[in-house]
Point group: C2
Chain length 149, copies 2
DNA sequence: CCAGAAATTGAAATTCACTTTCATGTTATC
DNA sequence: GATAACATGAAAGTGAATTTCAATTTCTGG
């Protein structure tokens, strides 16, 4: 973690940038969060220990991380986009439309079939996103319970 | 087509709505378009034969069609959402990031695997979307050509 | 340690897609 | 054809994301 932040900082400096405390605070909170955060959520979190940080800096830092490949922009159709760390390997999402829970999953078989499909169309894939919307176990149980009793 | 528009009109009237020429024009252009249109694109198209139509009406009509199940909102990450007719069965998208071409595809095997994944998580799916980004055959060939000679 | 150059910051202004408002125009009904 | 309800569209309003710009911070090299 400390190591990661140092590495990113070094990369930024190599590209002609300079260190900054605000950005460091944003990055640390972001990677510590672990899940999918909106700019607004992350701003509030950072402000707990760094009240002076502006929304703009959070926007800029996340865009920067995305450009550098350390973060991904994701969109669950809520109106505001979310960012997730890109340190783990690729995964897709189950999004509960009732409670908002997001479950990550990996499925190499689906990926393989996707490769087949793209090949069939002479398409060279660079990225993909798969989101499945529905009810998580808890919400499904609740609605089933209501229906049956 | 004529038949479809009549049917939709009848449904609207059954729900307490009234007929309208603007809306009819929007719907006809929309279903005739066949592909994924933005509100802006569709507005411009409708105005060719119906100059007085406002953007708002296009927004409202597409939202209405989506609510009635005749259209789907899709998002290729361009900033503006697109609408596609929902008359054909479900399909997913290959989006070329170079030229913007969108290829539709269906893959029952992928769907089956998706069902397996959701079941494994006790998740009850209601919808999903799969977008694969990359280079279409033409753009891939072009960049391959450049690379090899 | 200091001065100057360059990047970073954040409040405010701006943009852009989308939605809401509301006075006016249309449509259906009696 | 009067009237009640719906549809329309211009303009105003939202809200997320971006840009602007003066002030601040960071780095470099005397």
């Amino acid at each position: 973690m400390e190591r990661l932040l140092l590495r990113i900082d070094r990369e930024i400096i190599a590209a002609g940038g300079k260190r900054s405390k605000s950005r460091a605070a944003v990055m640390e909170r972001f990677f510590r969060a672990g899940d999918h955060v909106t700019v607004d959520e992350l701003t509030r979190a950072v402000r707990k220990t760094f009240p002076r940080v502006g929304t703009v800096t959070v926007y800029r830092t996340l865009k920067l991380l995305a450009r550098m490949g350390y973060a991904n922009e994701v969109d669950f159709g809520e109106g505001a986009r979310r960012y997730e760390s890109n340190l783990d390997s690729h995964h897709d999402h189950l999004v509960c439309t009732a409670c908002g829970t997001v479950i990550e999953f990996k499925d190499p078989d689906i990926e393989k079939l996707q490769d087949l499909v793209t090949r069939r169309h002479g398409f060279r894939p660079t990225a993909h996103r798969l989101e499945i919307f529905g009810l998580c176990r808890k919400c499904a149980d609740r609605s089933a319970g209501r229906r049956q009793g």
